[in-house]
């Protein structure tokens, strides 16, 4: 599974994307796995209410299932326009 990070999430974790091997059932489970890895992940995911997630490039909720998903992206609320 390809996991992508944008804006300050990318800066805190230190990389724009990585391949993650995981059996996490939901986005929240995947976040728990990442947070357990290293402090920089814990720092990025300290407050998930300040984050958004996209599954295969569509906005999703943190309790969404990951079955069949190839690309997960984490980022702060958008500020375009």
């Amino acid at each position: 599974m390809n996991v992508m990070y944008f804006a300050w999430v990318r800066e805190r974790i230190g990389i724009p994307h990585e391949t993650v091997d995981s059996d996490a059932a939901t986005v929240a489970d995947l976040v728990a796995e990442l947070v357990a890895r290293e402090d920089r992940y814990a720092a990025a995911f300290a407050d998930v209410s300040a984050l958004r997630v996209a599954l295969d490039q569509e906005l999703a909720a943190f309790d969404a299932p990951l079955a069949g998903v190839r690309e997960v992206a984490f980022f702060p609320p958008m500020t375009g326009g």
């Binding site: 944008f6 996209a54 500020t79 375009g80 326009g81």
Partner: protein
């Protein structure tokens, strides 16, 4: 319907003139241009990050929704990414419809949705350092109008 996501500057006037040309069913054209604004005289540059692939798909989805809801004759969205100088155009939206109310509402809707639902992130580089622009509650609230 045109959607462009690009690092290059664009010429808003030329885009407006090229938009909805030669259609006799258009009575009203509304355009919005967003410009890098110097907040307190200390802005050096604006940087815009985006999510290639998702950006184009998200914008196309929002534009298709607007075209259907307001029976637009045409719609245009251009959004830049990368480093932008103070005073530079950031993005542009244009809508063409038979009547003014539809053209205004659709452009307003497109702006509200692009701001909070298209994957762009702004970072301001000032004389005091760089900072990611925080999303405003008002921008999220604006979506409830539609």
């Amino acid at each position: 319907m045109t959607v462009r996501v690009q690092p290059e500057p664009f010429d808003a006037g030329a885009e407006l003139n090229g938009f909805a040309q030669g259609r006799s069913d258009v009575g009203a054209i509304v355009s919005f241009t967003g410009v890098v604004r110097d907040v307190d005289g200390g802005l050096r540059e604006m940087q815009i990050e985006h999510y290639p692939g998702m950006t184009e798909a998200a914008i196309a989805g929002i534009v298709a929704q607007a075209c259907e809801r307001w029976s637009l004759a045409d719609a245009l969205v251009i959004h830049r990414h990368g480093p932008l100088a103070v005073g530079a155009p950031i993005m542009m939206v244009a809508t063409a419809a038979a009547h003014r109310v539809a053209a205004f509402e659709a452009a307003d809707f497109l702006m509200d949705y692009l701001k909070s639902r298209a994957p762009f992130w702004k970072k301001e580089v000032t004389v005091n350092g760089a900072e990611w622009v925080a999303a405003k509650d008002a921008d999220e609230d604006a979506l409830n109008r539609w």
